[in-house]
């Protein structure tokens, strides 16, 4: 692929987010600081203070107000961005649903962090997993480079006329947010051209005419009404349709971006690694996939047919893709960096099993809960998972469907 010339900067995940936002002609950033996202808002406020961006930077008094202000700004016609983590995202919970219900293409970066109690500032994915029903697109990045690329793509995906859903780009707290990597950045004008100017769908207003969906005194409309039982359901179905369309849009935008940058992540939805002939495989989201890839390389060199499926887009869930990628594998270990208490395994485990349920071929699928509260997962521990999978294949049955990596039992 012939791609555009890029410069390499040493950026951590948070800085990569801020840099991407700087280039995307964002109109309003309303945010509240929370570890480990603080560098995003701090860096961005520096850009504002130095006049490097023409963005209204609003330091709201809470995350709930941050997302509210972004939503309201977005509905006024602005391109809006915010960032949060953990308790901050939890505080936004109500407004996440409102934002997707209003079809506002707000983009948010989440530096994944554990939820209290007890309070923990380190990385796990319980914060965003808990919001998977909220109607937001969710993309999980493996490294700072992908964070940068995904934030830029997120604006295009969210604002696409067939989607019009808010999108969150997730980066593991501290492991990605605070680790410095080499990040290739595109030139400003290339990014600006890629994200373009916001377009607005036409809606029917009470004046009996079609007008762009935005708060505009020249075309007054009422947004956020009360919808009784005889009306509410249809809007939710519309949102689901947008999620369906998002599968293709995420792929399209990813491919268009790949042409320009020279970088791709699988097909944009799923990033398989050595899966074509894999007999055993793990499924993983986020930065740990990087460690898994290194272990897979090792195992392959030892002649083990190991593979990895990294899920990049968790919402919408690429059900078909997951099924195709895994149905020929004999045993699959789904790694969950969050828990669903009382739910017999984590969210990703449930959803991967769901994707495989209708297949004729039924690989063994087991669950590994790992990395909660920022606990590190070593290559040795990942090797042990693959060893378990080999045993399962050999024995022909599963003894313990749910295990905990690195837990003191």
């Amino acid at each position: 692929m012939k791609s555009v010339e890029q410069k390499v900067l040493a950026l951590n995940g948070d800085e990569a987010v801020a840099y991407a936002v700087k280039q995307c002609d964002v109109d309003v950033v309303a945010a509240y600081p929370i570890t480990p996202q603080t560098i995003i808002v701090e860096r961005f406020s520096e850009y504002v203070a130095n006049g490097e961006v023409e963005t209204a930077f609003v330091c709201t008094e809470s995350e709930h107000s941050a997302l509210t202000a972004c939503l309201a700004a977005s509905l006024t016609g602005a391109r809006a961005f915010t960032a949060s983590a953990s308790a901050g995202l939890a505080l936004m919970h109500e407004m996440l649903f409102v934002t997707s219900g209003c079809r506002a293409p707000v983009v948010m970066a989440i530096a994944n962090r554990a939820l209290s109690a007890p309070i923990n500032i380190h990385g796990d994915q319980s914060d965003t997993m808990a919001q998977r029903d909220s109607g937001w697109i969710q993309i999980y990045a493996e490294n700072a480079q992908e964070v940068y690329d995904s934030v830029i793509q997120a604006f295009r995906i969210a604002e696409h006329p067939e989607v019009l859903l808010p999108a969150m780009v997730c980066l593991d707290g501290f492991q990605l947010s605070h680790s410095v990597e080499n990040v290739n950045v595109l030139p400003d004008d290339v990014v600006k051209k890629f994200v373009g100017v916001r377009q607005f769908p036409k809606v029917l207003t009470h004046e009996g005419k079609l007008a762009p969906l935005r708060l505009d005194p020249h075309n007054p409309m009422t947004l956020g009404p009360l919808a009784f039982p005889n009306y509410y359901f249809e809007f939710k179905r519309q949102q689901e349709e947008a999620m369906k369309k998002a599968l293709e849009v995420i792929r399209q935008v990813h491919n268009e971006y790949a042409e320009i940058s020279g970088r791709s992540y699988g097909d944009g939805l799923l990033d398989p690694y050595h899966l074509e002939d894999a007999e055993i495989a793990t499924v993983c989201l986020g930065s740990t996939a990087g460690t898994v890839k290194a272990v897979v390389d090792e195992l392959r060199s030892e002649g083990v047919k190991a593979g990895l499926l990294r899920i990049r887009a968790f919402r919408p869930l690429p059900v078909e893709g997951i099924r195709k990628a895994l149905e020929n594998v004999k045993a699959v270990a789904v790694m969950d960096r969050s828990m669903s208490f009382g739910g017999h395994g984590g969210a990703v485990f449930h959803e991967v099993r769901h994707a495989l349920y209708d297949s004729d071929k039924r690989p063994f699928i087991v669950n590994y809960i790992y990395g909660l509260g920022g606990r590190d997962t070593s290559p040795m521990q990942i090797r042990a998972i693959y060893k378990d999978l080999q045993e399962i294949v050999q024995k022909g049955h599963v003894e313990t469907p749910i295990k905990y990596v690195g837990l003191r039992e």
């Binding site: 509210t68 700004a73 407004m95 209003c102 956020g224 009404p225």
Partner: protein
């Protein structure tokens, strides 16, 4: 302020088309609905209204119907002021970037006492601290009316609500009304005022002043609810006059930190014999009915005492001994 030069007659107001349209589902005799109409009579150009969840939001935007002839946004209960912050920030930056042509767009956030005193106070305090250019109007019917008349921080002492009912041992709400407008004055914003729909001219001028001010403005409007107050629907506007005449709800402005009494309250300050006893005000509302029994009648004295104390404090602030 330009509003000082704005001369208008009742006819002018009557002739201005209603931007809050008929056909809304408010109760008969709803003063907040009358207040909505009056607020929109005071607009001066392109205006965006954003509201908190509450009676007025619900009755006026039942999909697919809307009573609002202006761009209007509702998102949640506690965040009218945060909505306004986002709208105002967006307009400013979009104008800078040449994507909006209007020289000025007025942003009005409207919320009930629920969305202001209690759940809404954080967003309100934050928005005014950040200095956004908007007007926040509180329509105060003194309880969470939309969800069934539950008590709020704005419910006055002794009022019976569904979560502070007057019972065998407790005479309604035990806490006095939170002095929300004084709290807003303490934020040192350029304009804070109180208004009452009976004094419609005063209300309209105050809305206009709030819009004209650069920066945050807060207007506390008294809005009787016949359903929640168990009062006669035909008397809602009269009650809003009685509240001023008893000094339960005095009318004043605080412009850049300087308090001044508005004419209807100044009249009473100058001629204290015109001040009516609170008993007259309480007697016509069912929510205070229990105060007219031997068991709880002492509370009327307490209400009178608090009313007088707050009135004296206000007079002092206005430089009237």
């Amino acid at each position: 302020m330009q509003s000082e030069e704005w001369k208008f007659t009742a006819k002018d107001i009557a002739e201005k088309p209603d931007l809050f349209m008929s056909g809304h589902r408010a109760c008969a005799g709803c003063a907040p609905a009358a207040v909505m109409r009056l607020i929109l009579k005071a607009t001066r150009g392109p205006t965006i209204v954003t509201m908190a969840t509450g009676c007025m939001e619900v009755v006026s935007t039942i999909y697919p119907y809307t009573s609002w002839a202006v761009p209007w946004l509702h998102t949640a209960f506690e965040n009218a002021a945060a909505n306004a912050s986002g709208i105002e920030a967006a307009i400013k930056v979009l104008r800078k970037k040449g994507r909006i042509k209007d020289e000025h767009v007025d942003v009005i956030a409207i919320a009930g006492d629920g969305g202001t005193y209690d759940i809404g106070i954080q967003a309100l305090s934050g928005a005014v601290e950040r200095g956004h250019d908007f007007l926040f109007v509180l329509y105060d019917n003194e309880a969470y009316m939309n969800t069934g008349i539950q008590r709020s921080g704005g419910t006055p002492l002794g009022a019976s609500t569904t979560t502070s009912p007057a019972g065998e041992v407790i005479p309604g709400k035990l806490e006095p009304k939170k002095p929300i407008a004084d709290i807003m004055v303490a934020h040192e914003i350029p304009y804070v005022a109180t208004a009452s729909p009976y004094y419609w001219r005063d209300l309209i001028i105050k809305v206009r002043k709030g819009l004209e001010v650069e920066g945050p403005a807060f207007l506390h409007v008294f809005a009787p609810c016949p359903r929640g107050w168990r009062s006669d629907p035909s008397k809602s506007i009269e009650l809003s006059r009685l509240a001023v005449e008893t000094c339960v709800f005095p009318l004043w402005e605080c412009i850049n930190g300087e308090y001044q009494l508005s004419a209807p309250s100044k009249v009473i300050a100058m001629a204290p014999q015109k001040k009516k006893p609170v008993k007259e005000y309480l007697a016509v509302q069912g929510r205070f009915r229990h105060l007219f029994t031997p068991k709880y009648e002492k509370l009327i004295d307490e209400i009178q005492r608090i009313t007088d104390m707050r009135w004296q404090k206000l007079l002092k602030k206005c430089g009237i001994a």
